[in-house]
């Protein structure tokens, strides 16, 4: 069923705002999405009716809060094809990725081992590996995007053939936040398995837009944030494959994660509690679960279809403007709902500022992928990223705004 973006817009109170007398055109969803009323209400309802600490008390509120929190975990698990035990709540994809780096990589990598990644990763899927590699003497190896902004499974296979079992971990994004490119993660996992390597996937840009099933992908770790998928800020997920849960040490120590404690030592609770020391973000987990239910009601396939349509319109229109250089694949089916571009002779900041004056929100900069921008000779680019509430009219407003920016500065 085709989704009706115009109708869905009404579910998002912030989209009724006017910016300098213009209707807001929100095209910065890859940075953070807006929240539907149901998510806002779920959080308010939690604090109005159920708030108490979880896993601690026998009183009614604590039991209700615990139940809501654990149900949220189950909703997340079902959404990604996992079991609740494997779902660890974090504050976002950045924390999730850092946990893989600290809890797994630091203990399992040694001198001259290799972490295989790509040359267009978000800084949060680059720097944690750089830092851990520096500590243990491991190295990073990069699969490079081709001129179309794509990478193939074959390129990963070549790296494994070259470096063999020295590659202990492939740390890749599921979809690029700069290029939009969707990576062949399933194939990458298959190749990595043949060499006994683990695969950690940064799903921050994929899970809001695609059907994700961690089992069928075949990865070992999957990280994402709630706020890019209609959920609140400050909540994210680290999915860890069940076989690995036992062998991993906790990340933080304190309340809620213990089995037994003496004055000298302690033993740990089972996962997921083992990885969630301290009072968790219950409102965030609830908000995320409500967002997931909202997404499921619309249907991830319908969202994907809608975004491919918007990709088609935007890519088509951008290619008609001679000053525009598009990053990433021109095939609308090969990217998620975002397009980054540069305008010859015009700084991305100025484009974003002119657009902002028209009520249009886009991102400008290097989108936390500085090495890739430097390598490609872009000081900064402009990124338009959409979601289920963006309409074709939003894209038309963007194109009109870009043309106005060109006129202003030439």
């Amino acid at each position: 069923m085709k989704l009706n973006a115009e109708e869905l817009k009404k579910d998002f109170p912030i989209l009724k705002r006017k910016i300098y007398d213009h209707e807001i055109v929100y095209l910065d969803n890859a940075a953070s999405s807006q929240k539907p009323q149901v998510v806002i209400d779920a959080i308010a309802d939690y604090y109005s009716n159920h708030n108490a600490n979880v896993h601690r008390g026998l009183h009614t509120l604590s039991e209700e809060a615990t139940e809501l929190y654990e149900n949220a975990r189950k909703t997340v698990a079902d959404f990604i094809g996992a079991v609740p035990q494997e779902v660890i709540f974090t504050k976002g994809a950045t924390e999730s990725l850092n946990r893989v780096a600290i809890n797994w990589a630091l203990h399992n990598l040694g001198k001259d081992d290799i972490i295989l990644t790509t040359d267009f990763e978000h800084h949060s899927n680059l720097i944690p590996w750089q830092e851990k590699a520096r500590i243990v003497g491991a190295k990073l190896e990069f699969v490079e995007a081709d001129e179309k902004g794509e990478v193939s499974a074959k390129q990963f296979k070549d790296k494994f053939e070259e470096f063999g079992t020295r590659i202990k971990l492939a740390a890749v994004t599921h979809a690029s936040n700069v290029l939009g490119t969707i990576l062949p993660v399933k194939e990458i996992c298959k190749i990595a398995k043949e060499y006994g390597a683990k695969v950690s996937v940064d799903g921050a840009q994929a899970i809001p837009h695609l059907n994700v099933n961690v089992q069928s992908l075949g990865c070992d770790f999957y990280s994402f944030s709630g706020h890019k998928m209609l959920g609140p800020m400050g909540i994210g997920v680290l999915w860890i494959k069940r076989d690995l849960l036992e062998g991993l040490e906790p990340y933080e120590f304190g309340g809620g994660m213990i089995d037994e404690v003496s004055f000298d030592a302690a033993t740990w609770a089972a996962a997921p509690e083992k990885f969630e020391a301290g009072t968790p973000n219950v409102e965030g987990a609830l908000g995320l679960a409500t967002a997931i239910e909202y997404l499921e009601k619309i249907g991830m396939d319908n969202i994907r279809e809608h975004e491919i349509e918007l990709n088609m319109v935007l890519l088509n229109e951008l290619q008609k403007i001679k000053e525009v250089r598009i990053l990433g694949p021109l095939d609308p089916t090969k990217r998620t709902g975002l397009v980054s571009f540069a305008l010859d002779g015009l700084h991305a900041h100025d484009i974003a500022a002119v657009l902002s004056g028209l009520g249009i929100a886009v991102r400008s900069g290097h989108h936390c992928a500085m090495p890739y921008h430097v390598k490609k000779g872009f000081s900064a680019t402009t990124r338009a990223s959409y979601y289920l509430y963006n309409t074709q009219e939003d894209i038309e407003a963007l194109i009109a705004g870009i043309k106005e920016a060109i006129k202003t500065f030439s």
Binding site: H347, A348, H349, D350, A353, H373, T408
Partner: protein
């Protein structure tokens, strides 16, 4: 008010489109290089100093309109001034002088040239 009505007004766009201080100096007394890692703006700043006076100043950049306009206005101001006078100039004085009514994120764009001038003067003093 829409901040763009101020930044992108005609007189400033004329400055942007006809910069007079852009380019490298052939025999500078001090050079600095500044970057804004958040947005990717970059600048090289050149000063020619004789007898404690800034005789000439220029810049090369890969930067936005705000950064270019701020550079043009600041360099126009520093040329012919004593080094100690520019050393004393504060960030707030500079921004007030600029009069662009900038939003928080764009203040950083304007500050690039100010920091570049300060750094070049520090380098010169350290010689």
């Amino acid at each position: 008010m829409n901040p763009n009505d101020n930044i992108y007004r005609q007189e400033l766009m004329d400055i942007y489109k006809n910069p007079v201080h852009k380019g490298a100096l052939s025999d500078p007394s001090a050079i600095s290089h500044k970057k804004n890692p958040m947005c990717g703006d970059e600048m090289d700043l050149y000063l020619k100093i004789e007898d404690g006076v800034i005789k000439d100043a220029s810049y090369t950049e890969s930067a936005c309109v705000v950064s270019v306009i701020a550079s043009e206005i600041l360099l126009e101001k520093v040329i012919g001034k004593k080094v100690e006078a520019i050393n004393k100039m504060t960030k707030d004085e500079f921004l007030t002088d600029l009069g662009l009514n900038l939003s928080t994120s764009r203040v950083k764009c304007a500050m690039l040239v100010f920091e570049a001038v300060k750094e070049a003067l520090e380098k010169y003093a350290g010689k």
